[in-house]
């Protein structure tokens, strides 16, 4: 115990004695480990942001989403998707066995909105009364779109808090007037704030009755998508198959023609995003592994030089009774400690940087246990691997030659 302690102390004190070397050795490692840590923290943050967003969209296991336009999840171009779903589709799907509710919506292109002297540009979406409940999105003030609104295609609007702030400041907007494009509306409610989900401000939205969106704000009655809730989550595959055949029939798609709609289950979406962020993290991990390898080579070379400079010290130790392996362990211990110190510094720097990334750039990050382990494993590995050659060189020195 006392001997191990002395060896540790000896390693620390010789590192201190050679601190300029040690610092040089640590720089590359610190950068490598810091970037590794940041990468993992961002990867972890992205996943958490996605899962919390999906949860806040009310995407439980008993629901899925049908989107207009065909293609495959993850490889669709989001811009110019054909809008293919219709109100009749929504009606047919709600009659499918196992379907509890269908909540359709229609996205209107981003529109200029004005109230009094203020204006802003925001997303406008046509929705049905079930929309807010399906997303577990409570109201802050007033009411949501009602069935009467739908029937009358009423010009009423429910605002997200960002829009409220832009147009009305701190004042209560319920009952006030605004214009979406040229069409006048009355504000009937305000949604609670959901905050941003990393890449998008979710409170930057105006909801109007679905029928108002189709009849007054755009020239067609097509739907952007619909959320389907099932009576029983275990029947997902069966319901999906039935919905697919109903939609293909409604759209008169011949066999062999691909779907012009896309069914997205939360499970698939989650998997896709996880896979994407995983492969990104894996790639960047590889990049930092390469930089860590390079820093390992730097460490090795500096230590080799240091060993020749310290030949005399090694000779002294051998003269007073150090065995070859005592010298071997000493140098290995030193390289391990340099690497560990570099690893810890890099880790702290990575944590600091990801905190700054969240704070200044609003990039979501979260503590990543795997990143933590990679960082420690990598630095210890680099220390051991690249300490071997210098340690062997030191241990191989002949005591008399070393003392010369």
């Amino acid at each position: 115990m006392s001997l191990a302690w002395r060896l540790l102390k000896a390693a620390v004190s010789s590192l201190w004695a050679f601190r300029s070397y040690a610092a040089l050795m640590m720089i590359g490692l610190i950068i490598g480990i810091a970037s590794l840590t940041v990468i993992h923290q961002i990867g972890q943050g992205a996943q958490q942001a996605v899962s919390s967003r999906m949860a806040s969209m009310g995407f439980g296991a008993d629901a899925f989403y049908i989107s207009s336009g065909g293609g495959r999840l993850g490889v669709r171009r989001g811009m110019k998707r054909a809008v293919t779903l219709t109100p009749q589709d929504a009606a047919s799907i709600s009659r499918v066995d196992g379907v509890a509710h269908v909540v359709p919506h229609k996205n209107v292109a981003r529109t200029q909105v004005t109230a009094g002297g203020n204006n802003t540009n925001t997303r406008v979406r046509g929705a049905t009364p079930g929309w807010a409940a399906a997303r577990k999105w409570p109201l802050l003030q007033g009411r949501f779109v009602s069935l009467t609104d739908i029937r009358q295609s009423a010009r009423v609007a429910v605002l997200g808090t960002t829009v409220v702030r832009e147009l009305f400041g701190e004042a209560n907007p319920v009952g006030r007037r605004l214009r979406i494009g040229r069409t006048p509306f009355i504000v009937v409610g305000v949604l609670e704030s959901k905050g941003s989900s990393g890449w998008r401000d979710r409170d930057d939205i105006i909801l109007v009755p679905l029928s108002t969106a189709t009849k007054r704000l755009s020239r067609d009655d097509k739907l952007s998508g619909m959320r389907v809730t099932m009576t029983d989550a275990t029947r997902l595959e069966e319901v999906k198959a039935e919905v697919t055949s109903v939609l293909r029939e409604n759209h008169s798609l011949l066999p062999g023609v691909p779907d012009d709609f896309l069914i997205i289950t939360p499970d698939e979406l989650m998997k896709l995003i996880t896979r994407q962020s995983r492969s990104l993290v894996a790639m960047l991990t590889f990049v930092s592994a390469v930089s860590l390898f390079v820093s390992g080579v730097v460490i090795m070379n500096i230590m080799l030089v240091a060993v020749s400079e310290r030949a005399y010290e090694i000779g002294v130790r051998r003269a007073v009774g150090a065995r070859r392996r005592d010298i071997l362990y000493q140098i290995l211990m030193e390289s391990l400690m340099v690497a560990a110190a570099g690893g810890v510094c890099g880790l702290l720097m990575g944590l600091l940087l990801s905190y700054l990334a969240t704070w200044l750039l609003a990039i979501p990050t979260a503590f990543s246990p795997s990143g933590f382990l990679w960082a420690l494993g990598f630095s210890a590995g680099v220390g051991l691997l690249f300490g071997v050659a210098p340690a062997k060189k030191a241990a191989g020195l002949h005591p008399v030659e070393a003392l010369r």
Binding site: L3, R6, S14, E313, V316, A322
Partner: protein, 242 residues
Amino acid sequence: MIKLKGITKTYYRGKVETPVLLGIDLHVRPGEFLAIMGPSGSGKSTLLHILGLLDRPTGGSYRLDGSEVSDLSDDELARLRNDKLGFVFQAFHLLPKSTALDNVLLPFTYAGHFPEDARERARRALGRVGLEHRLHHRPGEMSGGECQRVAIARALVNDPEVIFADEPTGNLDQRSSLEIISILQGLHAEGRTIVLVTHDTAVGCMCRRLMRVVYGNVDSDEAVAEPTQAIEQLQTLKEAAK
């Protein structure tokens, strides 16, 4: 204690052979104070390295306490160096970044286990060479004579059977040299065995037995009739300075 028979040493550098020791016979008995003298390049250091188990001879037999040393592994030699031998070098060979106390503690680091009274023993060894007031000084903060005394304390701390000294006064002024030799004479008076290498006749005459090595052979080996007492010379020197 130490018995050399026909020890030879040849250095090989590529194809160049340098025979340095041509067949040394030597018997060192416990309590002896032996000086090995000879001109520069005559192989004194080479011989001392072999005696001190820092190097292996090319041929011949070396028995330490009755057992043949050439059969031992490197690790066993290291163990013996730690256990039974102490070294004092011309250039002190202290760890420059360590304090006097830590330098003296160094042999314990490799002693297999670190004795509980190690610090106490190191302090006592430094006291023995008159450096109780320099425990926490580093080599750079001490004079050459003080550094060499730290080196003697380090050689002494593990209570060795033999102390080897290679030109211990080679880098020192006259006064420091006399101080070092008087310490060694004191250690010898306490019963320690000392083997010292020097090319300085004055130093050689302060030992009890003098062996001359010339061209790798033992030229002469005899007792010193009346060894000079370093402490007396030191007194004379001090008086002359006044």
